[in-house]
Structure formats: structure tokens, C-alpha cells
Symmetry: C2
């Protein structure tokens, strides 16, 4: 194997696949990146037990100076040291393997040699069945993931809740995430007759979000029994699926609200941020929301040891009963508010023991449910 490659191009590809490298592993070869040169492209591949990322760099005639392949071949090389060397090299790079499987990395008189692993020992990514292909614009899926991913459970007690539930039926594509105290839901429409229901680990969607550019590209999804494959730009991301039945969350969705508050999103977010002042010492970062007699929103929190903070904000519109008093986890409300880009939001209240519903006014593309916390 021997090729010449532009430094920036190679560095970007190494960084793209690096997140799938196992940093702590019993199997040292998984700390490496497999590099394969063929006549028309080079491929970088990294994997851990859950996630595999593959990036292809084609020899493009228009920019033939960016990659020039002298001779094909394969090797596996430490991801950490490859990344560190390439970052520190001053110019374009010449890669070469010797007969002892040493990878020579040459650039402007600098000569680095990394010991390689035997590429035959590197795991092969799951097979891709492309008979069932789901196509959705990158930008739509990226929005759905951003609006839900944060809400997954961080606890392993119910593994199925540590992932995001993807569902596709009759062209209606949705993402749902919940830790059973809060829930985030987002949907979009897809022009397909395929259907889908699976739970994807946090790490895979987090990597998708990092790697996918918001552009006009189409994301292609492929599903097998145990895996999901995302193909976008020049990247293929393979992830195992989380097994188990995802809870039916339709029943949680409010049918009728007792009170609907219409609020300025920015002001509410700043108020909740201030009320979270004692968040690190108050259980569940409990923040109290109340409608005052003069129909304003009072936001407050109290730490018996350190003090209290309160403020009163004006309400754009109040629909229904004016009696409202509910204690919620300020962090959950902040997380949800951060995913809303619209200027005006609606808080729907159905009683102090029922979840609050948060959504943007004039948009039912996504919403959040947040359970109250006990006040006594």
C-alpha cells in the first residue's frame, strides 16, 4: 500500500472515524483504524462493539492532486498516534507500508514509523442489505435527532430507554426519547412506503449529529435484524440496535389541558436558568411555576441553606383556568427549551400531578412532556 494525500483531507477522515475507536479495550487492534487503498479510493474504518464508522475518499479526477494512489493494500494503525502525527505534520503526506507492516508517514523531511496490526484480524462491518432503503433529507433527520436525543435515559436499569425510538409508518417518521420523567417527541414526513420500528443507541445518533452536515444531501437508512446503517455524504455508520419493547407513549399525550400559557421562549429560558441557581443542592433542581393573582408567571426556587430567588414574568396569553401551581425539574425544562427555535412557546397544564406539555406555538412537529416533582 502506498499513496499521497492532502493533509487536510486525510486529517478530516481520521477525525470522522475516530469516535468509533475503542479507547479502552481488551482487543488492542480495536484501538486502530483500518486503512485500505484500492485503485479508485481509500477507505478508513474504525469500530467498537456497538458502533462502526467507515469513510471513503475517492480519487477524484478534478482534484487529482488531493489523493494519488501508487499501490493498493491494507493495514491497521493506532488511531491515537496517526491522528497526533497528521495534526503535527506541516504539509501533504506520503503513506507507505514496508514488508514488516510498519507504516511510514512522510512529510517535508519528517519521517514517522508506526507499528501496524495485521488487517486480517480487524472485524468486518455488518452486511448491508440495500433492498430496503429509506431515504430522508439529512437536515430533517438531524432536526428530529437534536430535538429528542438529549431526553434518553442515562441509567441502565431499562436499557431500551437509553436509545431513541425511530418509527416510520405511512410516510410519518418519528423520534421518541424518554427517561420516564420527561419525554421528547419529534416527527417529519418521508416519501416512502417502507415501515420501521427500532431503538437506536445514543452514541450512534450522537455521532450522526456530529458528522452529518446540514445540506441538501439525502440520508439513506438500512435495517437488519440487529443493526441499523446510516449512509450520508461519504460516511457509513453502522450501529447495533437496542433490543426490547419500547413503551407505548401515546397514552401519555394530553387530550385536554386545564390551562394553556403562551410565553416568550427567551424570557422563560432565562428565568428558568436563574431559578436553577441552587440546582446543584436542591433535589431534582425543583423550580416552582405559579400564576399570580394579577395573571403573571412567578418562577421561584428555594434552598433552606443558601437562600431563595424569584421573579415574575408577563404572560402573552392565558387560556382556561387561571389557577396554576406546579413544581418541576428546572434542568428538564431547560433542556427542552434549548431545542425549540421558535420565539413563542405554549405550556399546557392539566393539574399539579400531570405532566406539563411544552411545544412551540404554531408547530406540532415536536413537543416535550415533563412530569412534576413532589413539592413536600
Amino acid at each position: 500500500m502506498e499513496f499521497f494525500i492532502e493533509r487536510e483531507l486525510f486529517l478530516q477522515a481520521i477525525q470522522d472515524v475516530s469516535k468509533a475507536v475503542s479507547s479502552r479495550t481488551m482487543n488492542p487492534i480495536l484501538s486502530g483504524i483500518k486503512i485500505t487503498a484500492e485503485s479508485e479510493n481509500i477507505t478508513l474504518l474504525a469500530t467498537n462493539s456497538d458502533l462502526t464508522i467507515q469513510k471513503v475518499i475517492p480519487v477524484c479526477n478534478k482534484q487529482s492532486h488531493r489523493l494519488h494512489i501508487v499501490c493498493s493494500g491494507s493495514t491497521v494503525v493506532s488511531a491515537k498516534y496517526l491522528l497526533q502525527i497528521v495534526k503535527r505534520l506541516p504539509g501533504d503526506i506520503h503513506i507507505k507500508i514496508d514488508h514488516l507492516n510498519k507504516i511510514k508517514i512522510l512529510s517535508n523531511g519528517i519521517d514517522a514509523n508506526l507499528n501496524g496490526f495485521d488487517f486480517n484480524d480487524f472485524p468486518i462491518p455488518p452486511k448491508l442489505d440495500d433492498s430496503q432503503e429509506i431515504r430522508i433529507p439529512n437536515s430533517v433527520f438531524k432536526r428530529m435527532v437534536k430535538q429528542t436525543l438529549f431526553a434518553v435515559s442515562r441509567s441502565d436499569t431499562r436499557p431500551v430507554l437509553t436509545g431513541v425510538h425511530l418509527s416510520l409508518e405511512n410516510g410519518r417518521f418519528s423520534c421518541t426519547a424518554t427517561n420516564s420523567h420527561r419525554l421528547a417527541f419529534s416527527r417529519g414526513t418521508v416519501d416512502t412506503k417502507e415501515s420501521l420500528s427500532c431503538v437506536v443507541p445514543f452514541s450512534a445518533l450522537n455521532e450522526f449529529n456530529r458528522l452529518a452536515e446540514v445540506d441538501n444531501e439525502i440520508l439513506k437508512l438500512y435495517i437488519s435484524k440487529h443493526h441499523i446503517i446510516f449512509r450520508f455524504n461519504s460516511i457509513t455508520l453502522f450501529s447495533r440496535l437496542i433490543e426490547g419493547n419500547y413503551p407505548n407513549v401515546e397514552s401519555l399525550i394530553l387530550t385536554e389541558a386545564r390551562t394553556i400559557l403562551t410565553l416568550n421562549k427567551e424570557m422563560l429560558q432565562q428565568g428558568i436558568d436563574r431559578a436553577s441557581l441552587f440546582g446543584s443542592v436542591i433535589e431534582n433542581n425543583k423550580v416552582l411555576l405559579e400564576v399570580t393573582r394579577d395573571l403573571k408567571l412567578r418562577i421561584c426556587s428555594t434552598s433552606t441553606v443558601f437562600g431563595e430567588i424569584e421573579e415574575v414574568q408577563s404572560i402573552i396569553n392565558l387560556q382556561g383556568e387561571s389557577e396554576l401551581s406546579v413544581a418541576i425539574d428546572g434542568n428538564f425544562l431547560m433542556d427542552a427549551l434549548k431545542t425549540i427555535e421558535e420565539e413563542v412557546v405554549q405550556l399546557s397544564y392539566s393539574g399539579s400531578m400531570k405532566p406539563l406539555l411544552l411545544q412551540a406555538v404554531d408547530s406540532d412537529l415536536h413537543f416535550h412532556l415533563i412530569s412534576p416533582v413532589r413539592t413536600a
Copy 2:
């Protein structure tokens, strides 16, 4: 106590003194900042056992809207929560203490209340004897500190080496720091007849560097038996001194070098950075420097497990013998190179067991000594 203050001004003052606050302390009052309002100014004070920082904000007639004092008094309030509240407030601030020593912090309809500590329990800073005052430009002392501070010992086995030795005699002011494997020295001239010899803890000089602006201000130094006091801008920084005899380092300084290499500083720094590739797995980040037969500088390092890296750089000038081969700690050389602003440096070599001397060409204001590491 009651006053009105511009948010930015108050926030800056809280941040300035906060680094002296004890975050983990048996004495909860030391987690607080003492605020004192008098007729003409307010003072913020924070302290831990080693370091005390005091900042005075005067009522300035020209900008009287920035601070308006209604009524004098004192209180001590949690530094952490005060900082967090003030950061999050939208506008100018109204501070007020009630009869229960609650501090009310008001701004644009937001009402925060922090429980105060009894200010009588707050430690009083060391007395300042201003009969012996040493004056030195902020910018000169800041340069000297920057060029030496990094080289102090991080180990407690010889406490006196964890500080920087300040010495003043016949108008010659110097800073020295060493961990006994490397040494950094910097000096400047001061127009004074005072003399001085003391060891100042890392933390105090680190805070001085953070707080002192590079301007035309004069730094005033005061010394007592156990303390040093730095006064600059509107800040007073009190530090305990480290007791013990600082080693005599004059004997270490080279009299005659066998070889003097003149090198481009930037190129050398980048080469050492690359050679430090395996730094985390090679003991002492051992980097080998050699003069090649064709009078170039070869820089290399080797990890038996991962690989090796080497490069060859041109030498601007070689004076003396051309045989040179020495192994040093790459991190020590990098640290020293980072403090040198000049473009061209000199490496003086006196044998593979003697310390290397590094300094800028045409400047004897500061230098570095780095002991070789064993090669076998």
C-alpha cells in the same frame, strides 16, 4: 449596607477576588466574599490560608452612575452563588442587607436572597508595613513571572522548590524556579536601594499573572517576615511566604560550552512537539538531539511498542565541537521554548551529562537549564 452598582463592574470585582475563595474548607465562612461599603468605596475580600485578594471599587465622581452607596456596612456572602446570580442578572444591581443578615440582590424585577455569614468571623488580612516599598513596572515583573513560574516543582518533597525565588540586590531583581531537573531564570532592573530574598508560592504568582494588566502601572511590593503583598491597579494580593533556604543555583550556570547551536526557535519548537508524539508512553518523554555528519540537527524519539519519529533540521550556526548527542525531557524543552519570544535561540552543550543551556540570542535577561535524561 445598601448600594447600587453597574453589573459589569461588580461582576469583574467578584471574579477578581474569587480565586482566593476556599472551595473545600472546614470553615464555611471562607467560601464567602466579604463585602464592605464605606462612604467613598466598596471593598471585596476573599481568603484561604495561603492567599488573600482584596479589590476596592471607589465611588468615582466622573462616573458616579457606576456605583452609588446609600448606606455603609459589611457582610459575608457565598462567593459561588453571588457570582452565579450576578452573571445571570440582566441589568444594574441593587444590593441591600436586611436585619437578619439576608443579602437582597435586586435587578429588573428579579429578587434573589442569599443567607449571609457574620462578617465579624471573617479573617483580617495581614498588616501591611509600607515603610519598605519596592516599586517595579507591572509589565517587567509579569514578564519575569511568566518566564519562570512554569518551572517550579509540583512535588511536596522539597516545599521550598514549589515556589519562585525572588531576589533583589543593588537594583538587580531576579526570579528563579527549579524542580532540580530544570531551572528557569529571569531578571530585570529596578531603581531602588531596597533588597529582598524570599520564596513566593506558585498560586500567588499565578494569580498576579491573571490579574495584572500589561500597562504602565507600577506594582508595589511589601514584605514582612511571613508575608509578601502585591499592590497593583485596585487590587491587593497577600500571600504567605514559603520558609526554608532556597538552593544556591549560581554554581549550576555554565562557564564554558563545548558546542553552541544557533537555531530557529519556531522550527525547533515544532520539531520537539512532533518528537513528543509518544510522550505519554516514554519515560520522561525522552527526545534525542544529535548533530549529524552534514552538520544538521537530528531530532528523534522511539517507542518500542508503537514506533519512532525523526526529522532533520538545518542549523543557523554551529560554534565549537560538532560532536553532540544528548537525550532530554521533551516536555521541559517545550515549556522553556514557549516562554521565549525571540525568533532565534541558542542551545549550549557541555557534554552528555551536563545540563543544556537554552536562551534567546542577543538576550541574557533570561535563560533555562535542562538536565539530560539517561539514555540506557
